[in-house]
């Protein structure tokens, strides 16, 4: 579906299928979000994100995956659940971020390449960092 936005005929990809995908994968309903921004305020990684969590939630509400292809927001998410426990609408936003990661990872794309990590770094890192990180950032 293509909608004219801001009366300037800017085409955006609004996709009901994508909304459904995000909801099914996350087990959440992104339409519940009322855009209060509590998630962004609570997020320890927000400063490093291309789009704040609130904006990602907004784009998710319209299924606009193409606008989120190249952003780092869901890759920067540390799954700390600071947003999830504070969301006044009860949305587990960490699960929405996981769904967005998985939509990419399930096309066999990695966000980081373990083979490119320096041996010295691997030697120093505790196992827990690598297990957690590889599970979140590689396919």
């Amino acid at each position: 579906m293509t909608l004219p936005m801001n009366a300037q005929n800017v085409s955006v990809d609004v996709s009901l299928v994508s909304i459904e995908k995000i909801n099914t994968l996350s087990g959440e309903n992104v339409k519940l979000c009322m855009q209060c921004g509590t998630c962004t305020a609570a997020c320890p990684m927000a400063d490093e994100m291309d789009f704040f969590p609130r904006k990602v939630m907004h784009l998710s509400q319209f299924g606009m995956l193409s606008r989120m292809n190249d952003i780092n927001t869901y890759w920067k998410c540390a799954s700390c659940h600071s947003c999830s426990v504070r969301c006044p609408r009860g949305i587990d936003i960490a699960k929405v971020m996981e769904a967005l990661r998985q939509l990419v990872l399930r096309t066999s794309k990695n966000y980081i390449e373990p083979s490119e990590m320096p041996a010295a770094q691997i030697k120093e890192l505790p196992a827990i960092v690598m297990v957690a990180g590889f599970r979140k950032l590689t396919s």
């Binding site: 087990g27 990590m117 120093e124 297990v131 990180g133």
Partner: protein
């Protein structure tokens, strides 16, 4: 009451200072736990996508092992293991459909429905030892050590598996008080340290960890106590780089809470493996005459 102990991968190598100090402390307190045999990786993070059941098999298999051995409770030291196992346990208790799928997939194992209770070591201390008894057993109180509990994310979130309600840091506070330390109010006890993001960040770039340490600097905190090897790594191992980039103003030695407990109980410092912490950790204890007393 039989209590099984689940160590997890990191506690056997990089974080053996967390494990060995914890086990020695339990021995000193007269609590008997049995390390479960044939444990496997818990997965470190709980799978958050609704259709991903295969990654629950790892933690559930550990719970099955505990049930097989007749354990009533499964105790963990590592925060991330606690979180992953407790959430998987909750899933098996409450979600009938997913439980059936997982049980049928693991058809060579006995069925599991959340019979074992997953608890954290701090809960074990409160419920099975008690703060007064710990206080009575202290041989070398950590007098004058200004320390704050650092819980990070996984001990408290999400709320239904948290070891205590959001914003409350009672368990570790009571422990630190019982062993004679001065507990300093800290506004960043449950702020994230950046977690696995450190995998993809050059040394000294992890601002989430730097912000926690900076808050500790501002609060006049001398040391942080944690129970997570990932938190300890992020907070403790890159302080030189944070200082070089002026993100923090002073070193904040990081300890596992078990190390502080063990020292207070008079366990030999060798058991606590301080060489795995930053060198300043041991120096701080020596400056406070804690090493000498033990």
């Amino acid at each position: 009451m039989k209590i099984s102990y689940y160590p997890g991968c990191t506690l056997k190598l990089k974080a053996k200072n967390l494990e060995l100090a914890g086990l020695a402390s339990l021995k000193a307190l007269g609590i008997d736990v049995e390390e479960m045999d044939r444990w496997n990786c818990c997965g470190a993070v709980y799978s958050l996508t609704d259709d991903d059941l295969i990654h629950h098999v790892g933690p559930v298999r550990n719970l099955v092992r505990a049930k097989e051995r007749g354990a009533d409770k499964l105790v963990t030291l590592c925060s991330m293991c606690y979180n992953t196992l407790a959430r998987a346990n909750q899933l098996m208790k409450t979600d009938v459909v997913k439980r059936d799928t997982i049980n049928r997939f693991m058809d060579d194992e006995i069925d599991y429905a959340g019979e074992v209770e997953v608890i954290h070591y701090l809960t074990l201390l409160e419920e099975h030892v008690g703060w007064d008894k710990i206080k009575a057993k202290v041989k070398a109180p950590l007098t004058d050590l200004k320390v704050a509990p650092y819980y990070g994310c996984t001990l408290q979130r999400p709320q239904d598996v948290g070891i205590e309600p959001m914003g409350s840091f009672r368990l570790m506070t009571r422990l630190l008080e019982a062993i004679g330390a001065t507990v300093v109010p800290f506004n960043s006890s449950d702020k994230c340290c950046g977690s696995y993001q450190v995998l993809n960040a050059p040394a000294g770039d992890n601002d989430a960890a730097a912000n926690v340490l900076k808050a500790a600097n501002q609060a006049g905190i001398e040391a942080l106590a944690t129970s997570c090897p990932l938190c300890e790594y992020n907070l403790g191992k890159q302080q030189e780089q944070f200082l070089a980039k002026s993100k923090i103003t002073a070193h904040v030695p990081t300890f596992y809470f078990t190390q502080l407990l063990a020292m207070a109980l008079g366990v030999s410092p060798e058991v606590c493996h301080f060489e795995l912490n930053d060198i300043r950790s041991l120096q701080l204890l020596e400056a406070k005459n804690i090493q000498a007393a033990a």
